[in-house]
Structure formats: C-alpha cells, structure tokens
Amino acid sequence: MPAGIRMSGGYTFKKFPVIDGQIQRIDIDPGYVAVPLVTVSGDKLTPAVKTGHFVRKGDCITAYDQRYPHRNLYAPITGRVEQITKVNRDAVSTDTVIIRQDTSVRLPIENHIGKAGAEHAGLNVCHKYISLLTGQLDGTGEQQPKHILISAIYTEPVAVTVPVLLEGNESFLTAGIRCLLETYPDADVSIISSGSDQPVIEQICGDFLQKDRFRLLHAPRKYPAENPYIQIENVSGYHVSALRSPADYGYLCIDLRALLSLGRAVIMRHAPTDLFIPVYRDEPELTALVTVPVGVTVAQLLDELGCSPDGYRIIEGGLLTGKEITDTTHIVTRCTTSLTLIAHKPQRSFLWFLRPGRSLDSFTRCFLSSAPGGEKKVTDGLQGGKRACINCGYCHAVCPADLYPNILYHEVTHDLLEEAMDKNLDRCIDCGLCSYVCPSKLSLAYTLHKAKDTAYHQCAQLTSNRT
C-alpha cells in the first residue's frame, strides 16, 4: 500500500482505496446483457437486429456506419436477441437490445451485420477498435494522430495501480502497443507513468524502448510523482484546454485500461466489448478488478461479486468526479471507469472534531488527522453544515490547475462570469479537490462546473449571433 498520495501545499491523501497487491480478478460471464442503443455522446442509434436473431460476440448490432465505426454497438456476448425494448423517444430513456447468452450458437448470421464482422483483418480493424475505445478518431484511418499518449497514471485518487492492471495481462499490453505503433506509422507513442510504477512499465515495455518512436515519460515534478493530478502541459507541449479537444492538437489519448481492452480485442479478434472495471468497497476482500462485457447491469455485476448494495451508495466513475447510481438496473457502458461502494451511515459521534485524527474519517495531512496508523474508512459525511467561505486558501493549495476556487466561487455566485473567465475559470479540470478540502463544505466544484457550462453557452450564442 503506498504511503499516501502527496498533494501540493503539504496535503496528503492518506487512505483512498487504491487497489494494490493481491486482489480478486473476476471475469464475469453474465446470463444476459442489455445494450442501450445510444452512443457515448448520447445520440440514439437504430438497431440492426430483430428479436430472435443470433449474434456472435463482436458483431455489429446497429445500422452500420462505415465512416464512424466508433458510433456502432457490438454484441458483448454470443447469444440470441431476446427482446428489443421500445420506450418513448424522450430525452432520458433509450431503446435497449437484450441478448440472452447461448454459447451453442453456431448458426450463420442472417442479416447484414455479418459484413461488418468480416472486416476483421488488416489495419482497418485497429482504426476501428481505437476509435471505438477513445471516440476521438473517425475510424476510417483518414485522421492521423501525430502523438499518442498512453496514460499509466491515476486519474482519480481512487485507482487501480498499474502493477495490478498488468499482472497476467502483459501480453495484452504488448499487443496493444504494437497495434498502436503499426496502425500509425508516423506517430510517436509515449507512455506516461508515475515514479512508483516505472519499473513495472519498463519491464513490460522493454522491447519497445529500443525503438525511436517509443518513449517512456515521467509524470512532471510540479507535483510529486505519486500525485494523481498532474498538469500534462509539460509533456510534449500538450496543453489541456476545455475549448479544444486533444485531437485538435494532433494527440490521441488512451489510458491503460483502454489499451488492455484494445490488446485483448486484437488477440481475441472481436470488437473491444469487454471492460476492466475496478470495484471498491471498504472491505478489502470485496475489492476486485472485474472483466465484464458492456451491457451488464450494476445489480448483475454486484451479484456476481457477492456484495449486496444495501447500506451503501454506489458511485460510478470515482469518488471525486463520478456520479451516484440510485438505480441498480443502471447499465455498465464504455464510459464506466470504476464503481465505488461507500458506507452510508450516520456520522454522529461525541465530540468527533476534537479527537486527534487517527479515528477521524479523514484523508489529508493538513491536520493532526495525519498521525500515522489507524484504519480510516471512506464515508460520505459532510461532518458539519455549510458555512460562508472563510478564505482559508486550502482550495488554492490543492488546485492542480493553479486556480483560486474561493475567488471564482465568489465571482460566479455574484454573476461576475466574465471576471471569472478572465481568472482562468475555463482551465478548471473538474477534479473536485476544492470541494473535498473545503472546511466550510461549499460545493465549489459543482458551482464552477455549472458556471463553465453557462459561459460556454453564452460563448456559443455570441458566436452564432455574429455569424
């Protein structure tokens, strides 16, 4: 277990649930999956299959778009289409294809999706897989990235460490990197890792390190190496901006989980329909890295793991940036990066705030709560009501984008949006750390996120008025 994740300003996250060492690795083989007919960006899709059709794993099940393969959906398991649910075409709910597993299916596929499946050869398929995973390229191979960044660093304090991801998956990783190098012969491939995982990465990437186009990068040292939030501004001049996507800069960004899915897809010869999802709970034995097909419901996944969601809140996509799932029929999609179950119980205890930190549910070193030892659990309590900002400056001290969230919050709540934009509001990366450390328990991150939305809308309106 790492000693803690050091932040700027002397803050240390003491014990976020980082998966490291021996954990469960589970391949979930569900009885059925429900695939919502919607793209990653939320557009509705038309099903190309009918009830009773047989599909093989990796077959395209939506009206095939040659130009944008990453918009298509592929069957996550082999089986029979049991039902296509039709709902009202409103903004919220979507149609869903339910496929019941049937491994005995060996029948020829009787609709046009077979043609798409037949293209599993050559570089074209890699283009498709890569665009399918990243959603950044069009899949036809016309859009060539100049740089490929593989991120092997934590993007959330809640994270599965690189050694755990790699253990037993080395061949997938090498296949993935080889696929990237061959698919884009003109692009240089960089893998960014943090200090502690560097030896593992070096071991895996040994063969590639000889090549000119392959580079191994350290996370920049503005924050210590084990810090989850780095400014990747310093890496090859790559610059995070909310207004332009990395693709505009000629960058293709792919994280280690996606790289593994890619390698697995290339080796197994079907579309990357399996996901690697870390599931966290405060009991270490229930923490697992799960390989799961897209379309499984959260209830199914937890059932396979043997945990009950009672008494827990389920957060999809990390504790700092994710969202809460209230309905366990929620479907695991390509956007699901992790599931965290946090205990939901009353926080009241006698004079809790006076206790020297050991027994406090606290994660930072800014108070005596940093005293070593003691088991700290993840809880979701506010530990105190909302108050006015007291200008303490903790939010600025932890901000990876070097913003003053307290001042931005003040300006945004007083309708001074332009002034806030002048103070780099658009550089906010929505990491949520400001809200996390705020002693006044203000919802800084949420407020700033909303303000950015409003600012972009105004920007868009101005532009459209001008044209």
């Binding site: 504790l319 205890s349 930190g357 606290s362 994660f363 800014c366 309590g381 949520g432 750390l433 949420y446």
Partner: protein
C-alpha cells in the same frame, strides 16, 4: 428543522441548541453532489484548533493575574455568543457560526486583567456587531472582530484601561491559582514605561511575562508554542507572521540605529506589548487577510512597518491594533491587485482579439 413550537424551537434559542448538538455530536448530512467524500476538516475543527493554541496563554494568564481572568473570559463568551445568537435568530440561521468562539477568547486575552466586567461585555458586543455581524457574519467580515472590540474599549474607556495594568503574581506554583485577583498595584506596561521615562524592561522579564500587560500576551514561550501549533496544523499560513516579524524587527532596528536614545531596540519591540500575540493569532485569521500568497507577504510587511511607526510616532503605544485594522481594510485591495497582475496577460490577450 421541524415546525414545532415551544421554547426549544424558538428562533433565537434553536440556533444555540442546534449548534450545541452539532458541536457535541456532529451532523448527519451527507453528500449529494460530486465529490462524494469530504475531508473531516470543518469549521469546528478549524476554529477549535485556534482555541487549543491560545489555551496555554489563558492558563498562564490565570497563573499571573488570578482567577478573575476566568470571569473576564466567561463574560466575553456569554455576551459574545449571546449577540451571535440574536443575529442568528434574526437571520433564521440553523446554527450560530463557530467563529464567535474564537473571537470571544481572543478578545478576552487582549484585555487588561482587571478591566471592569461591564466594559468587557460592552466591548465584545460592539466587536461582534460592528466588526462582524453588520457585514454578514463569519467569513464576510472585513475587520477582525476581536480587534474592533479592543479598539472600541481602549478609545471609549481610556481611563479604565490605563488604570488596570497590575503587577502579576510571581514566585512558586500556586501563584495566581490561589487568588481571585492580584493586588491592585497599578503599574505601567513596558511600552508605556519606555514612552514616559525611557526605561527598557529586561529581556528575561519580557520573555517570561513578569510584566504588566494584557491577559494573554505576556508569556512569550507559550504564544510562540501556540503559533507554531497553528502553523504546523496548517490552520494558520506561515507567510504573514514571518513577514510581519521580519519587517517589524527590521523597521525597529533601522530606527534604533538612527537614534538609539529615542527609539527602543528591535528586540524590545518584538517582546513587548501585543506584537507577538497579534502576529501569531490575530493576523493569521484568514478571513480578514489576503488570500494570495504574494498578498500575504505584502500584508505582513506593511503590518510590521505600520505597527512600529504607530508605536514610535504616535501617542498610542499599542500600534498593533490599529495596524491590524488598517491592513484589514486593505486586504481586499491587495488581493484584487495581485490577481490583476497575475491575470493581466490573459486579459490583454482577450482585449487584443
């Protein structure tokens, strides 16, 4: 809160009851937006660490001046929290804010030990109302409320203030712990002594606190200990105190080197009066000081220079009070200018487009 009526649900009493409840037991509130976990720091813990830091100074005050010190602190709390509760009731807040607990003890510790209790009450009420509540409560105040109360008292009741400096108990342990109050032998504080006769109190006396002075500001080792505690636990930012001590020391040393007869040496300024106490506990208040780091340095340096200038060239020997209030006024301006400088390049670029 429930709609029930009764004494416990009175709009003026409920905030006190609720804050006592959350003070002792915490809250059951839980997160509803990202991030879904929150750090255990909250204002109670934050503010209580300040109280912990000044507690040794308060105990030393009892040792030096007798149990009457406790009465001063108690009166300060009753009237300060009472005023806060009235405002919480008027504003229909759920709870009273924790800042009041810090204000009351800081205010009591910068008063002469034998000040009449009714003056203590008037001062804390004035400080709470006009230093904090008229601006909207903790976090929205421009001035440090404890300092506002102290200035009000020293300007409105100069005679009472001047007569209540007493010779502290000295000697083996029971000291002030066995007496209600020290014999009312009126003495002068080291600063007034220097101003009237030019005598310089010995450094050892100044350091261990056997001098006439305010309750909490005489025993220097305990103040330094408390200040270091706040800095280590990151409740206080180290920049302002460091800048403040450096600049006040430098300014006093400069003046002393020019005219050694007229101006006291730098160590004397540093060890006498409320300079150390204010530097550790008053100007580390984040609400009334700049939030930018460069602003903190500027504020600290200006504070030091102002303090020494007021001490040396005006009739008010306690220059720290006025310097703190003056710099509080400038804190927003300093922040504004620092941010303008930081983001100027971007604004210019936007203007050019």
């Amino acid at each position: 809160m429930s709609e029930r009526t009764g004494l416990l649900h009175n709009r003026y009493i409920a905030p006190v009851i609720n804050s006592l409840g959350s003070f002792f037991f915490g809250t059951e509130e839980h997160t509803s937006q990202t991030p879904y976990i929150r750090d255990a720091i909250d204002l109670k813990r934050y503010m209580f660490f300040v109280i912990l830091a000044v507690l040794p100074s308060a105990v030393a005050g009892i040792y030096l001046y007798g149990w009457r010190v406790v009465a001063v602190i108690a009166v300060s709390y009753v009237f300060g929290v009472g005023t806060e509760a009235v405002f919480a009731g008027v504003r229909r807040q759920d709870e009273i804010h924790e800042g009041a607990f810090v204000t009351c003890i800081l205010y009591a510790l910068i008063l002469p030990p034998h000040l009449p209790l009714w003056i203590v009450a008037v001062g804390i009420m004035f400080g709470t109302i006009f230093g904090k509540e008229v601006f909207g409560g903790t976090g929205k105040n421009i001035f440090n409320p404890a300092m506002v109360g102290r200035i009000f008292v020293s300007l409105a009741f100069p005679e009472a203030m001047a007569k209540t400096w007493v010779v502290p108990f000295d000697g083996p342990l029971p000291g002030g712990f066995s007496a209600w109050m020290a014999d009312t032998i009126t003495t002068a504080t080291p600063l007034t002594l220097f101003q009237s006769s030019g005598d310089i109190t010995a450094a050892s006396l100044l350091f261990r606190g056997y001098i006439g002075g305010c309750i909490g500001e005489t025993v220097k080792p305990l103040i330094i200990l408390g200040g270091l505690f706040l800095i280590v636990t990151k409740v206080a930012n180290w920049r302002i105190p460091v800048a403040f001590f450096l600049s006040s020391f430098g300014c006093a040393a400069l003046l002393h080197s020019i005219e050694p007869q007229q101006f006291a040496p730098a160590w004397f300024h540093l060890l006498s009066g409320g300079l150390l106490f204010a530097g550790m506990f008053m100007i580390s208040d984040p609400v009334t000081t700049p939030t930018t780091n460069s602003g903190k340095w500027i504020c600290g340096f200006s504070l030091g220079v102002l303090t020494i200038l007021i001490r040396v060239f005006t009739g008010y020997v306690e220059g720290v009070m006025f310097a703190v209030i003056i710099m509080n006024m400038f804190a927003p301006l300093i922040d504004y200018s620092m941010l303008n400088i930081k983001y100027r390049a971007r604004t210019r670029k936007a203007a050019a487009l």
